[in-house]
Amino acid sequence: MIALGKFYLLAILVFLYLPIIVMMAMGFNDSSLYELPFHFTTKWYVALADNSQLISSGINSVVIALITAVVATVAGTMAAVALGRRVIRGKSLLQLLLLPPIAIPWLITGTAMLVFFFWTGIGRGMHALILGHVALAIPYVVLVVGTGLQTIRADLEEAAMSLGSTPVHAFFSVTLPLLAPSILGAALFAFAVSLDQFVISYFLSTPGFTTLPVQIYSAIRKGFTPEINAISTILLLGSMAVIVVFAVFARPGGNRDKR
């Protein structure tokens, strides 16, 4: 039974990774029509360097992801601290309000943003994308930081206060250093959420300002070229790296105790 279970898990991994590996391999194949046999080349990656549209949308993606990570982490951490440490009437309602951005299909959230931003004159473009991405990332940050906060006993701050710390000093000298791994994890998470976000970006970009996933989508709709494989490979490996770093930092009960 155990051997069967391991074999089954292997099959699941093949199912999950095979198409991705095939896609990546095709980015190194010489034929522009994906014809075999396989001839290794890096010319599609070289070609990327000349594709100014892809490059500028890639830069846009990274810039927006960075801004999203910073803003969502600061705001979300503040909210997580308030929700986790303070007596608030209607706390469960506030926690419930974090769910819609995660649970409602992005198609609906994205089109709603489009309608609202159009109607109020906020419009589309970079600022609209940042508005949308930060809103999507905040609930994740609150959840990640809130979970980390639960592992830090509240009486540590009380101990600091009994020794002469004001609440603000107690937070910065005791809770924040202990919370740092969670906050860093949340920031990476927010970065990844923004970097991979397609649906909302799709509705809020303008022809002059797009992100990489939006650019890839329109390229796919025009027709497949190995250049898409190349840029997809870069994007995929990039976000995998971010998530692996995140997994190391946010490992439950991780290195915090051993420090």
Partner: protein, 305 residues
């Protein structure tokens, strides 16, 4: 009192203000305000606005007077082809969710029962890793496998060189396959969380009472995994029926779903009120499903406790 006091007298803390800080409620509101104001501006107000839009006669442009109407909510009567599309979308969601549930349950079971320690940890990370990578790119990956002359055909032709093409890109099964690929990690995770807590002794007790493996599966493992299965099903079904990028890329011309119809209203037809009404109809269906399942879930967890 002994003369040997161990520490020198230090008095009260110096430089510490002997007053209370800013009132607690003000601080709490200040901490919460950035996040919730942001969510209000970027999520809740937009949803409300779209709800209002769904009752408008047409997308408000220039000086055209705004007329309110219910006609977009009657679209399913007046445009019967939408009923067919909605049914197809629900069916697509059903097949994708069912496939995820079956594949995911057994993967979670294998993970919980056939692996331990570091191997299990690594496998879990490997399974979840694709979930946090770009969904668009993963969908695109399947076109490389499923297209005529793609990887699947290559495999076939290496065995049977003269066979035709078995690539099924631009069909409904292709869409379902892409969706399953996208949401399977979620289902594995929720089932795994439910299954990993099951004690060995429960299964041993069942075996000692003469239960065969199918009895253990049906009477113990599945019921205990039900909360995980339900959560996973909801988390899969909801985004799947709102999908538009997967049907467009993997379904081509046959990939018409509620998702693509709604997208069209916003990007092609410019009929925002209809798109909004269809979105809210879909949201209502989603909420109804949520409500039904949360009821089932509560009853089940209540019975288990």
């Amino acid at each position: 009192m002994p003369a040997d006091i161990p520490v020198a007298s230090t008095g009260t803390p110096s430089g510490v203000p002997a007053r209370r800080g800013i009132p607690g409620s003000v601080a709490t509101i200040a901490l919460l305000l950035p996040s919730y104001a942001w969510l209000l501006l970027a999520v809740f107000l937009p949803l409300c606005t779209m709800f209002v839009f769904s009752f408008m006669n047409a997308t408000p442009m220039g000086k055209t007077p705004i007329v309110f109407t219910l006609k977009h909510y009657q679209a399913f009567y007046t445009q019967p082809y939408l009923v067919k599309i909605a049914w197809d979308s629900l069916l697509m969601g059903f097949w994708a969710t069912l496939s995820c549930a079956i594949l995911g349950f057994f993967a979670a079971l294998a993970l919980a029962r056939a692996t331990t320690g570091r191997v299990r940890e690594t496998l879990l990370i490997l399974i979840l890793l694709p979930f946090w990578t770009n969904g668009l790119v993963r969908v695109f990956s399947w076109t490389m496998v499923l297209r005529e002359g793609g990887f699947l055909d290559m495999l076939l032709h290496s065995v049977l060189p003269d066979a035709g093409s078995i690539g099924f890109l631009y069909t409904r099964p292709a869409i379902v396959l892409g969706l399953v690929h996208g949401y399977l990690p979620y289902m594995i995770l929720t089932c795994y969380i439910a299954l990993v807590t099951i004690d060995d002794s429960i299964l041993e007790a069942a075996e000692s009472l003469g239960a065969r493996w199918w009895t253990i599966l049906g009477k113990i493992l599945v019921p205990l995994a039900l909360p995980g299965l339900t959560t996973g099903a909801v988390l899969t079904f909801v985004p799947v029926i709102g999908a538009f990028m997967e049907p467009r890329i993997l379904g081509g011309r046959v990939g018409v779903t509620m998702g693509t119809v709604i997208e069209d209203q916003f990007t092609q037809a410019f009929n925002w009120p209809l798109g909004a009404a269809l979105s809210f109809t879909m949201l209502a269906v989603v909420l109804a499903i949520f409500a039904t399942f949360s009821g089932v879930l509560r009853r089940n967890s209540g019975a288990a406790a």
